[in-house]
Symmetry: C2
Subunit: 273 residues, 2 copies
């Protein structure tokens, strides 16, 4: 007697799942597993928008960049995405996307996909030197936030401030990060991971304050082979803020592969009180 084959959908695949209804239109549904304090985790939303382009029949090549603007709240439930290839060139393609609920725009995005060619290559920045994931403790996030449960996070520095935490002179967090349960890396997962840093103002102030991403950009440095080579290993993720001021701060992040490949660089501007 052979064991029955059970196919279990990974929570991340369920979160970014879309139905194509033709003419650049998709329908999806928020995933309770990726809930944030209010509405879905922005990384999952960004990944879903990227995935819409991946699924589009006219898509050319692999992601080069995506910018996601969080224009308004997303309510738990179904949503619609429209993806429009604004211009297709010989080696790249420019996309405009909108996520709506009941016809109201909640999120907009632009993305560039393209073909890569062999050129001179060099990674000028250096990956931070850190202990290995197995030598670090896994961080538990507060129970009222769902989405971090889908990540195995092991902080090297700048762990989530606990009760009675003091202010920190540095906004830098560096951590090893992978999907929980483990899942082979792809561009959508990498997009989400670029947003997996808790707000830098929490770290500096040693406390939680209202904060939310306004605009979020990912530049994909890794090609298909480098994404595949990463497999299910932890990614080394590091982020910091240059300036907090008058209601907004920036965040600059790098995500590195286990073999030292710079997989992605990412930026976001965040509202805070």
């Amino acid at each position: 007697m052979t064991e029955p084959v059970t196919t279990v959908t990974h929570p991340f695949d369920a979160a970014v799942e879309l139905d194509y209804t033709g003419d650049g239109r998709f329908t999806g549904h928020t995933s309770p597993a990726y809930n944030n304090m209010v509405g879905p985790f922005g990384g999952a939303t960004a990944a879903t928008l990227l995935h819409a382009v991946e699924l589009h029949p006219d898509r050319l090549g692999a992601p080069l960049s995506i910018t996601v603007n969080f224009a308004g709240p997303i309510t738990d439930g179904p949503f619609d995405i429209t993806a429009r290839a604004v211009r297709t060139n010989r080696t790249n393609q420019h996309w405009s996307l909108e996520l709506t609920q009941d016809g109201v725009v909640a999120t907009t995005a632009t993305a560039v996909f393209g073909l890569r060619r062999d050129t001179w290559t060099d990674t000028e920045d250096e990956r931070p030197t850190t202990p290995q994931p197995a030598d670090l403790e896994r961080t538990d996030f507060p129970e009222f936030i769902m989405w971090p449960r889908n990540y195995d996070m092991r902080f090297v520095e700048g762990d989530v401030p606990g009760e009675g935490a003091s202010e920190s002179p540095s906004s830098t967090s560096t951590l090893w990060l992978r999907d929980e349960p483990a899942r082979p890396l792809d561009y959508a997962a990498l997009t989400s991971m670029c947003d997996a840093f808790y707000p830098r103002v929490f770290l500096r102030k040693g406390q939680y304050v209202p904060a939310g991403t306004v605009s979020f950009t990912v530049y994909f440095h890794a090609d298909d082979a480098e994404i595949a080579a990463q497999g299910t290993d932890h990614v080394l993720a590091t982020a910091h803020t240059a300036r907090f001021g008058r209601g907004y701060f920036d965040q600059h992040a790098q995500l590195w592969g286990t073999d030292g490949t710079l997989l992605a660089t990412s930026q976001q501007i965040v509202y805070f009180k």
Copy 2:
């Protein structure tokens, strides 16, 4: 007899000049003074798109971020811009823009404008320590590129590679930069200045190669008062690349005011051969 009053339009104001024709539509014209090797300087195009929102009758507040995607070439001549307020919230407003010529999309953009509130503020990054502009030589760019003539650029490091230049181990350029002739800083000028770095690959390779910006983002940290305080002084601009690979590289930039204010952070992903 009194002297006649002559009002001379600054070349930058001429470059970003737009006519509003109603319903979110504008017409403009490329400026020969801001020509690049092929088509207009991307910084001027980005500034023009930002300026369209500034001129729009429904605009709320000041710029927080803009992302510009250079989808195709812009031909010398007239162009159309459409600016649509996708969503207006209580304190911020999300914009989608397209620049077209003869109905063909050449450039897309998204922008976030908003109101600023007083909050805790801190600039965590430090401005590079450099000599003063007056103690540095002004750089002359090659004659066949027009747009740099509109800038007074004084390099601290990473000057434009001359004939017979060797490869550089660093992609970092740091320079003092202002409009030429001098012009009081505004958000549009700051946007353009964020793109005023020549391609980082030129510096690393010690030679010119085909290169062009694909996507460009500016986060505005300065508020109206800080922009006004800068006046016509030089801005300290610094940029570097994290990774060059398979046809694309990233560029991360900071623009600092003379008084140590971090005015803007900016990123771009650039195609190269």
